[in-house]
Symmetry: C2
Subunit: 467 residues, 2 copies
């Protein structure tokens, strides 16, 4: 890889990365349009594999095909692991089974698994058949674990030493493997693991500790016995929580018999953290899955279900309004003002909901403080309810020159804001207890609640007081 | 630290962590109520510092004070760095200046800075005055860099070696520091840095590479020259992007003269990733900052500003409805149906907005694909617009027995869904170009748009066609 030429006159390297790519994408597109593969190869020669992946994602469908044909012989296997699923699917199709298999053989097993698990079964089988036996066995074992489990996330290449060794023996051992068979070492590692006779992990040894100790020190003296073994079936979300909670960089993975089978490293966990966050954000916005690179038609289909749920709840709110059509006919100002009450409730509720959903996701909210969180949100709802009752009451009074109308909207506002605070906190907690993902279902339940209560409180009070 | 006793009968370790804490919180609360400090100390003796921090967060205000008094003499400094800001403020107040200063002296400089930067100036000064000179100078230097910069994030304790050394010299050097003055080593490290005569970084040397090479190999042979130096003024968000993009575990930080001043490690970056995600989620939900541990009154104040912006936009929508009061008076069904159009637009727009805001945050959306993203969202808006036009048109037709009313709502629905798709993608992109955080401002602009257009399209078409 070429040394960054802007080194002396350093601006933010990140801006360079992003700006370079904008330029590069255009350059690559132009070069391909001109039928000039040499230029394309020269450009990508300097790029980090993650940047090649980004470049591929930004190219159009047709350009991607041309690009693959040009770089086929020099395709960096690492690029595959970095691609978005939709784009990777296309790239894999273009590369062909043989090329993909040989690319995957060069990757660490966890990266190979990441690519393979997204393929359909036939394609996965075809690719696996072209991967050398030894590597394939490791990959197939990982694939036998459930989706999103620690078994899928771990790499099989780890360094293990008997727990009765000393520091010098460990260092010599690592040097010998590095010389004899580098493929057995992970591409980077931060710990090695001491195991007992039954292949159970006895402790993890941070390389910085190994470095700092004299050769004759026994590993038992510098190893960390409290090393957070992860069961191979643990969900990746729990793995991420553990890493963050304990500031881990790597952790051993054990099978059901307690035998050490692999290790999970922080770089994979960072990806999991991103995935989980993405899921949360997307679901709260009513999107099932990030669909940035999907075609318009499949995006339409994916978003349809959420919108149709929303149509039903909107009709429900309309039915509530329908009860009061006679009242609205007499006082049309009610139709003008009613969205204010519903909308303020929806927004205040969304605030409570956001804080609560997030606290559930980070496990800051558990059984023991749920009551405290809900009551706080109710109190905040009261406070803001009173403030906005006064404000909206004044607006209604001045606008329609009716104190009574002002009083009605004020009363409805207080009611709806309290309901919003309560529901915003309680709905996600209840959904979570019921085993339903609070991020995906809370919003729709909440807005139904605040719309229905908002319209009903306002219109029924009006019917009582004003007519 | 005690070895986990559930080792043999291993369930998910994470469940253990969370469940333990629920139990522990109650146990600790009870023990304090009984005036039994020994039990409290015995319980927390087995806990990881991150769990002690969680425990503190879950205790009530009064219990926190009692707890600090009990553990004062055995207070683990690492706990401070793990606490939520609001809770930490309280704990720091309880501990007192001297205890806090002595705790901070024991932490790596980056963790000490994290605690200090949240204090007000007088308190910061007071604590700094009690920290030993050498450590204080390092901390003060870090604090002189802007908030959220790489300079605040980096740790000053790094291992540097001249680039003309060989592997054996490096290992001996690390061993010597470890024996003579362990405080000069970071508590864990993954790389050491080779520097030239001007103290500029020449390359980073992964410990796993150092381990695997023979003693006589020169470091220039195993060091990575393309090591992504980070300018000390780089924003932490860009640092996080760089780490994720390049799968980094640590990176050197250089000052404006290119001299190596520190290193950033992945554990700090994971915290930044969480912070940034939290900010995005909170802002999209109309919450300025996570306020889970804030008192109700300050939460009310913080959320008030967002709600008052929302009140203004809701009034704007009401004004639009007000233009058509005569029409509504004649056909009250319009008041019943109008929220459907507005709400569907709002939800479809939020879907587009969520995907776009997220793509901007992950830098997947840049100048070159903005146009493609917007046009795709418009097409999706068209498709879903037509589908929901038919559905809502049928509902209106059947409900109010009027084909014309059905046609009006259908037409308004198509218009509003297209506007929603366009605005959902375009608003965040435009805000981002203007240097405004798209996560915070997009939602309010979008819902104003879809409300106003939704009501206006529906009511004005009704006024034209039906009257």
């Amino acid at each position: 890889m070429a040394k960054n030429e802007t080194d002396q006159n350093m601006t933010s390297e990140v801006d360079d990365i992003v700006e370079d790519e904008i330029g590069i994408e255009v350059l690559v597109g132009d070069a391909m349009a001109d039928g000039d593969p040499e230029t394309v190869l020269r450009i990508i020669d300097d790029l980090h594999y993650a940047d090649v992946a980004d470049l591929l994602e930004r190219l159009s469908r047709e350009e991607r095909g041309q690009f693959i044909d040009v770089v086929r012989d020099q395709f960096d296997p690492e690029v595959l692991a970095e691609l978005d699923d939709t784009v990777r699917d296309e790239v894999v199709g273009h590369l062909g089974v043989r090329e993909v298999a040989s690319a995957l053989s060069e990757l660490d097993s966890d990266d190979a698994v990441e690519v393979l698990e997204e393929m359909d079964e036939a394609q996965q089988r075809a690719v696996l058949d072209h991967i050398p036996d030894e590597e394939r066995t490791l990959i197939e074992e990982s694939l036998s674990y459930p989706d999103d489990s620690a078994g899928r996330l771990m790499q099989r290449e780890i360094v293990t030493v008997p727990s009765h060794w000393n520091v010098g023996q460990c260092i010599d051992f690592v040097r010998r493997i590095a010389e004899e068979d580098e493929g057995r070492l992970p591409s980077v590692f931060y710990d090695i693991f001491a195991i007992d006779a039954r292949h159970h992990p006895a402790g993890s040894i941070a390389l910085s500790k190994l470095m700092s100790a004299r050769r004759q020190v026994p590993v038992t003296e510098i190893m960390d016995e409290d090393m957070h073994e992860i069961d191979v079936y643990t969900d990746q979300e729990d793995v991420a929580f553990l890493f963050r909670q304990r500031d881990l960089v790597s952790a051993p993975v054990v099978d059901r018999n307690g035998r050490l089978v692999g290790a999970i490293t922080i770089d994979d966990v960072v990806d999991v953290i991103h995935e989980e966050h993405e899921e949360d954000i997307m679901r709260m916005g009513g999107v099932i899955e990030d669909d940035l690179y999907e075609a318009a038609i499949s995006t339409t289909r994916a978003r349809f279900s959420w919108l149709s749920v929303n149509l039903l709840t909107a009709i429900l709110a309309s039915v509530v309004i329908g009860f009061f059509d006679a009242t609205i006919e007499q006082i049309v100002a009610l139709a003008v003002l009613m969205p204010i009450v519903a909308s303020m409730g929806g927004n205040a509720g969304t605030q409570s909901l956001t804080v609560t959903v997030r606290a559930l996701a980070t496990k800051e909210l558990t059984g023991s403080n749920a009551y405290r969180v809900i009551s706080k949100e109710v109190i905040v709802g009261c406070f803001n309810g009173v403030i906005f009752a006064v404000l909206s009451g004044l607006v209604a009074w001045v606008w329609f020159e009716s104190v009574e109308l002002g009083a009605v909207i004020a009363a409805a506002m207080v009611i709806n804001m309290i309901v919003a605070g309560f529901s915003g906190a309680a709905i996600p907690i209840v959904l979570d207890r019921m085993g339903i993902d609070p991020a995906i279902a809370s919003t729709v339940v909440l807005t139904t609640m605040t719309d229905v209560i908002g319209f009903f409180a306002f219109l029924s009070l009006a019917a009582l007081v004003l007519i």
